[in-house]
Structures are given as structure tokens and as C-alpha cells.
Amino acid sequence: MKFEIMRERLVEGLNDVMKAVSSKTTIPILTGIKMDVSAEGMRLTGSDSDITIQTFIPAEEDGKQIIRVIEGGSIVLQAKVFGEIIRKLPTNEVEIEITGNFQTHIRSGKSEFHLIGLDAMDYPQLPDIQDDRLFTIPADLLKTIIRETVFAVSSSETRPVLTGVHWEVKDGELVCVATDSHRLARRKTKLETLPEGEYSVVIPGKSLTELNKILDDNSEAVEIVMTNQQVLFKSKHILFFSRLLEGNYPDTSRLIPSEHKTTVTVNGRSLLQAIDRASLLAREERNNVVRFSATSGSDVEVSSNSPEVGKVEEQLQAQSIEGEELKISFSAKFMMDALKAIDGQDVVIQFTGAMRPFILKSALDDSILQLILPVRTY
């Protein structure tokens, strides 16, 4: 194998696949990155066996040569060392040549490295996924969906299925739900390309977080293929495979209250800032609790009190307050996460009681729903 490549393109590709490589892997060869070179271009693969990322660098793009392939072939190189070397090479042209016994020579300018590679035959095969049943979502929308839900997954392994986001495709709609049992985020999206059949999978939160990092913020379509054990996201040059979580995701639809006793409409940004200020006096050991009350008039009050630190009270003009008086305590952190996800001008908050979940929606559309369980104070 022998080829020359533009250094910056190789760095970009490595950055993407490195996101899947973990130093903690139990399979030694997975600390490496696989490189396959053919006349069409180069494929880079990185994996921690939960996530596998493959990126393709074409030999030629828009009439411009990126790789000059002299001889094709495959090799696995230690991800960390290889990545660092490429990043620090002196010129933008890199020549890589494999000689006998997986000896790898990397040349750039007057610098020459000799790396010991591993046999690409020992690298695990990519999951075999039939892509005849797929649907597509524009990359920027996909990123938004991930951002609006993934923060609500559980960080505790006590119920592993809750560390993932539940993706359900039904009636031309994708419904994504994440909950750590203390709050819940739900996002509904109308699909433009109708998939064949229905799907219900749980994607690890960590996978989605990584996917969000490597997708470009543009409207190019991402193809999504779901199987029983794997999900594949396919963009122009990237294949992103993720293992799915096993186990039944709890039915959350019946947990979302449909009747409300108090409805408050308020500017989301002002409320976010008020909660942020009040949280300065909320303590983590006490679940970051802040109080919210809508008792009379058109103002709501946000307050917090830590006996040994101090207290804060703030009035906030609401657009409207309907229904019964209400006093409720909740985690400032959960509230801020939810408000950031909605990111709209006005939010509608619907309460059913001080010990019951309440929901937040954008005043403009119904696609996002955030649910928060209150904090009980004694």
C-alpha cells in the first residue's frame, strides 16, 4: 500500500473516527484505526464496539485530487499515536507506505516516521445492515432533535434502558423520548420520506451525543436504517453505527398529564434567567430546589432559600395565568435544561398540582414537550 494525501483532509477524517475510539476497550485492536485505500479513495474506521464510525475520503472531489493512490491496501494503526503524528507533520502533503510486516512509513517534508501497524484482517467486520428500509432526516433537524432530548437521559445504570433515547416511528411521525424518571423530554417530528413499517428502538444517549458532534449543521439528508440490534446513520461521507439498548422502554405516554389546573404563559428567556439567578442560592444537596408560585395577579414569583446562605425572591410578569393558585418547588437545573431545549419566545407551563408532573411547551408549536417532576420539601 502506498499513497499520498492532503494532510488537512486526513486530520478531518481522523477527528471524526477518533470519536468512536476508546482507550478503555477490552478488545486490543480497537485502540487502532483501520485504513482501507483503493482507487476511489480512503475509508477510515474507528470503533469501541458500541459505536462504529466510518468516514470516506474520496480520491478526487470537485475535480481536485485529494489522494494520489499508488497502490491500494489496508492497515490498522494505533489511533492516538497516528492521530498525533498526522496533526504535527510539517507540510500539507503526507506520503504513507506500508512495507512487509505491517511496517508503516509516514513521510512529510523532511520528516519520516516508522510505525508498527496491525493486520487489517484482524479488525472486526462492520455490522451487516440491509439498507432497503430507511428514512431520511436533514442533518440540521437531526441535530436539533438530539439536542432537545438527549440531555434528559439517565446517567445511572440502575435502569439501563433509561440511559438511551426511545425512537419510535409510527404513522409517518418520529417520536423521541428521553427520561431519567425525574424529568422527560419528548420531541415529535413529521417525516418527509415515509418509512416502510414501524420502528421502536432505544439508542444509547452517548451515541447520539457523539453523532451530534460529527454531523455538519446543514440540510443534507441523513439516511437512517434501523435493525434489531443496530442503528445506522448515513450521511454523504460518514457511516455511524450504534448498538441499541435492550429491554422495553416504559410506556411514557400515559404518564403525561392531559388535564391541567393551572396554566402559565411566560417569556421563556426571562424565566430562564430568573431561574438561573434563583439557583445561585439553591444547593445541590437539596436537589437545586427553587420555588415557583402563581398566586395572584399577573406576576409569578421565583424564589430560593438556603438557611445558611441567604434567600432570593423575584417577580416575573406572565403573559397569562389561568386556573387555580399554585405553589410548587422544582430543580432549577431541570427547569433550565427544559427551557433551553424549548428555546422559544413564549412557553406554556401546565401544572396539575404541587406533587404532580408539570409540562412545558412552546407557545407556538406542539412538537416539543418537556415534563418535570417537582421536588417535595418537608
Partner: protein, 469 residues
């Protein structure tokens, strides 16, 4: 020995540098008559610094230490036991057989606290062994602290049989030694119990002083005395230094308290951390902790442990034992209206390997089932099947339930929602009539209950007898 001689030994050494010492000396020998005359001139200088300046916050602290408390209480209940070698011990049949405390007469025969019962019996076969009677000790303790509180509100109980007093304000009117003498006499005549009192400008020195003469001693320890009285002692003798700290210090070639006082502060900080810095300050007679009457209310953890009748390897038996420990802890938390987020499990294997494992939860726990669920999870995660001779469960970082919060979850909010109507009503009444106008029935009953579901010698539950003012 008459306590006055202690005073003399303290003071006579300072004769040359302390012009008032002879008067002080005379006072102690002759009783109270000179007390008013002397107090300003001699005791006022107790706080003098090396440079001769008198600090603004010069304080007079007593440390009262009851002498072999449990044994003394038994002797006062049954005067036939007076003058005899007696010891309080757990039940030897269940291997809880260690001496909890013993009388001075028993100590003279080589008996000491923590000694195994069978060993003690071998050493002195006529030793009288008594089972502990915690109710008696609690009553005596309360009476003792009541006497202390008749002098000042600044009483800080440390355990069932010791406490600090800040008598700075009283020592303006009367001589500190006079007050100490009166306290000691009252405890002896009213309760028939001996105690030792240390008098010093801070807690550390007061505690050190009360230890210097037992029983029935009164010892003054001034900052300037430490070079002579404290520094020659090995570090292990210092309060706050245990075996492991002592061996660490010895590893730094620090053998005596004086070595520690004069050691390079940078070295101490680097090798021993914050605790080292604190210990070095103490070795230099510096301790700025205030006497805090409320510190007893700051319970930080509630735990219990048990030594098993046999080295246990059966998971099922351990499950039952841990559950019963959790129930005990839950009862005590309930009695104190406390809850905490951290659950710790302790084990001691048959070869005396001690282990603790803990986990901190999102919400605080106080119910037996919640504590047990976490404790059992922790236990099964870390237990490798080895034989255990002791297991314990602790809930820590506890706080008043009134200060606590519980993050509700999708799976439990319904239980809480059931209480909404009553909580609503309470909040409405509170906003009309003020906070605490209503306390829920069950809670009220608990507040009144003074007894606490605990029967261990090391427990601080006796402190519940001290009512918060």
C-alpha cells in the same frame, strides 16, 4: 491525693516568671477566702502570649470528664460495690465480651477498657462483671449536665460523660478554680459521682488538663506550661492522635508532642494535610474552636453495627442481619427526624479486615426499606463470600427532615400526590396564621418522644435528653 496538690504542681513551676503564683498557691491551700482577690491578677494572665500581649478573646474553658462513669454510676446505685474492682461488659456469650469501662480498683489490677472479658477474668478472677444499664447512665448524665447548665448556657456535651464549659464571663466575678471546685463538689455530693476538671484557655488544653489527674482532679494548663508538660510526651498521648497518625508522625522522626510543635510547618502540611496543620497548632497550645452548645444537634451520621455470634458466610443470614440493622438505623433517624443521602456498609472479616463501602443517592433516605435496598445492593456488590464477624450500616450527611427535599420520580409521585389536599390546607393555614401553626399528627407524637431506639455505649442518643433552648 488532694486535688490542691495538682494546682501546686502546676503553679509552683511558674513561680519565677509569675509574680502572683505564690498567692495563687496560697489560695488553693487555704480554700476560697482569697478567690476574689486573686482572680484578676493571676488567672487573667493565663492567656498571655509569648510576646506578652494579652489576646482580645481571652477565654476560660473547663473540660469536665466523669471518672470511669458507668462504673461510678453502678457504685453509687449499689454502695456495696464501692471500693471493689468492677467492670461493665457486654455479653461474653455473644462475643460482645469487651470491658466497656471499669472502676479504678479494677484498673489497679491491670484491667482496662476494650480488654476481652475472658482475659480480664484470667487476670483478676474476683473482678465483678456487670451488664450495662444505659437508662441509668443517661439519667446520671442528664443530671450532671443540668448542674453544669446551672452555671452557664455555654455547655457543650461531647459524649455521655464529658463536656466543655465556657466560663469566661463567670471568671470575671469568681476565680475559675473556685468555680471548678464547686462544680466538682456538687457533682460528688448531689450525684455521688467523681469527675476531673481541666481549666485552660482553650478546648484542647482543657481536655488535656482534665486527663492529667484522675480521679477528682482539677488541673490548670496554661499555654506557657505546654513546653514543660506537653512537649516531653510521645505524640500518641495527644488528643486527636491515634495509632495511624502517630506512626505516620514517627515516620517523619516526630516522636514527642514537642517535636510536632517545632517541626517544619511546610513538611507537616505536605505529609499530613489539613489534619497535620491542626495538630501542630494544638501541639503549640493553639485551638480556636468555640464551646458550641448546639454542636450536639449537628448529628452527621446515624449508624449501627453488630458483632455476629459466629463468623457468618450464609448470604441469607447476612440479609436478615443487615435488614435488622437498617431497621434500627431507620428507627433512630425517625426518632430524631433526620434523613440523609449517603448509605455506608461496614464489614469486618474473620481475619479482622475492615471495609467500608458507601454510595450517595439523589434523594435522602430514612425509611428502613429504602436504606435496606441500598445497603443490600452495596453489600452484594462488594462481598466476596468471605466469613464476616461484624457488619454495620450507617446513613450519613444527615439533616433535619425539615430541611430536606425529595426529587419526585415518574414512578412514585402518585404516593405523594395523595397528600396534596392536606398539604394544600396546611400551607393555606400557615400563610394565614404563621409557620409551624400545624404539625402533622404523627410528627407531633414523634417530637414529644424522647426515647430513641438505641442501646449502644458509643451512641450519642443520650444527647436527645438535652432540650434545645
Amino acid at each position: 491525693m488532694h486535688p490542691a496538690t495538682t494546682g501546686r504542681s502546676n503553679l509552683s513551676k511558674n513561680k519565677r516568671e509569675e509574680p502572683c503564683a505564690p498567692l495563687f498557691f496560697m489560695y488553693i491551700r487555704t480554700g476560697r477566702m482569697f478567690s476574689l482577690f486573686i482572680e484578676r491578677s493571676s488567672y487573667g494572665k493565663l492567656e498571655e502570649n509569648d510576646d506578652g500581649a494579652i489576646p482580645m478573646a481571652s477565654r476560660v474553658i473547663f473540660h469536665i470528664d466523669m471518672n470511669s462513669f458507668y462504673a461510678s454510676v453502678e457504685q453509687s446505685h449499689n454502695p456495696d460495690l464501692k471500693g471493689k474492682a468492677i467492670a461493665i461488659a457486654g455479653n461474653p456469650q455473644e462475643r460482645r465480651g469487651i470491658i466497656v469501662t471499669c472502676s479504678y480498683e479494677a484498673r489497679a489490677h491491670g484491667i482496662y477498657t476494650t480488654m476481652q472479658v475472658h482475659e480480664a477474668k484470667r487476670k483478676y478472677p474476683s473482678l465483678i462483671l456487670l451488664p450495662p444499664n444505659f437508662d441509668r447512665y443517661r439519667i446520671a448524665s442528664k443530671a450532671m449536665f443540668d448542674i453544669l447548665r446551672s452555671y452557664t448556657g455555654l455547655v457543650e456535651p461531647v459524649s455521655i460523660d464529658e463536656g466543655y464549659l465556657d466560663v469566661t464571663d463567670l471568671a470575671v466575678e469568681r476565680h475559675a478554680v473556685d468555680i471548678a471546685r464547686e462544680i466538682q463538689t456538687r457533682i460528688l455530693s448531689e450525684l455521688d459521682l467523681p469527675c476531673s476538671i481541666g481549666i485552660a484557655p482553650n478546648k484542647f488544653l482543657a481536655k488535656t488538663a482534665s486527663d492529667m489527674k484522675k480521679p477528682q482532679g482539677i488541673t490548670i494548663l496554661r499555654k506557657r506550661d505546654i513546653g514543660e508538660k506537653l512537649w516531653p510526651l510521645p505524640v500518641i498521648e495527644m488528643h486527636g492522635v491515634g495509632e495511624s497518625t502517630a506512626s505516620k508522625l514517627n515516620g517523619l522522626a516526630i516522636k514527642t508532642i514537642g517535636d510536632l510543635a517545632l517541626a517544619n510547618p511546610g513538611l507537616i502540611k505536605e505529609k499530613m494535610g489539613k489534619n497535620g496543620v491542626r495538630l501542630q497548632a494544638r501541639a503549640n497550645g493553639i485551638d480556636d474552636r468555640a464551646v458550641d452548645p448546639d454542636s450536639i444537634y449537628d448529628t452527621k451520621s446515624v449508624g449501627t453495627s453488630t458483632t455476629l455470634p459466629v463468623d457468618e458466610t450464609e448470604e441469607e443470614n447476612l440479609r436478615v442481619i443487615i435488614l435488622s440493622l437498617c431497621e434500627k438505623v431507620a428507627n433512630r433517624l425517625e426518632a430524631k427526624e433526620l434523613a440523609g443521602p449517603t448509605v455506608t456498609i461496614q464489614t469486618r472479616s474473620s481475619d479482622w479486615q475492615n471495609r467500608t463501602r458507601s454510595i450517595t443517592l439523589k434523594n435522602t433516605v430514612w425509611k428502613a426499606e429504602d436504606i435496606n435496598r441500598t445497603a443490600w445492593q452495596l453489600f452484594t456488590k462488594h462481598w466476596n463470600g468471605e466469613a464476616l464477624r461484624l457488619v454495620g450500616v450507617t446513613v450519613s450527611n444527615v439533616a433535619d427532615k425539615g430541611e430536606l427535599t425529595e426529587q419526585l420520580s415518574l414512578f412514585n409521585f402518585q404516593e405523594h400526590a395523595k397528600e396534596e389536599p392536606i398539604l394544600d390546607l396546611m400551607s393555606k393555614l400557615e400563610s394565614r396564621f404563621g409557620k409551624r401553626v400545624l404539625v402533622k399528627g404523627a410528627k407531633e407524637a414523634k417530637l414529644k418522644r424522647s426515647t430513641t431506639g438505641s442501646e449502644t455505649s458509643f451512641s450519642k442518643d443520650f444527647l436527645d435528653d438535652h432540650e434545645r433552648k
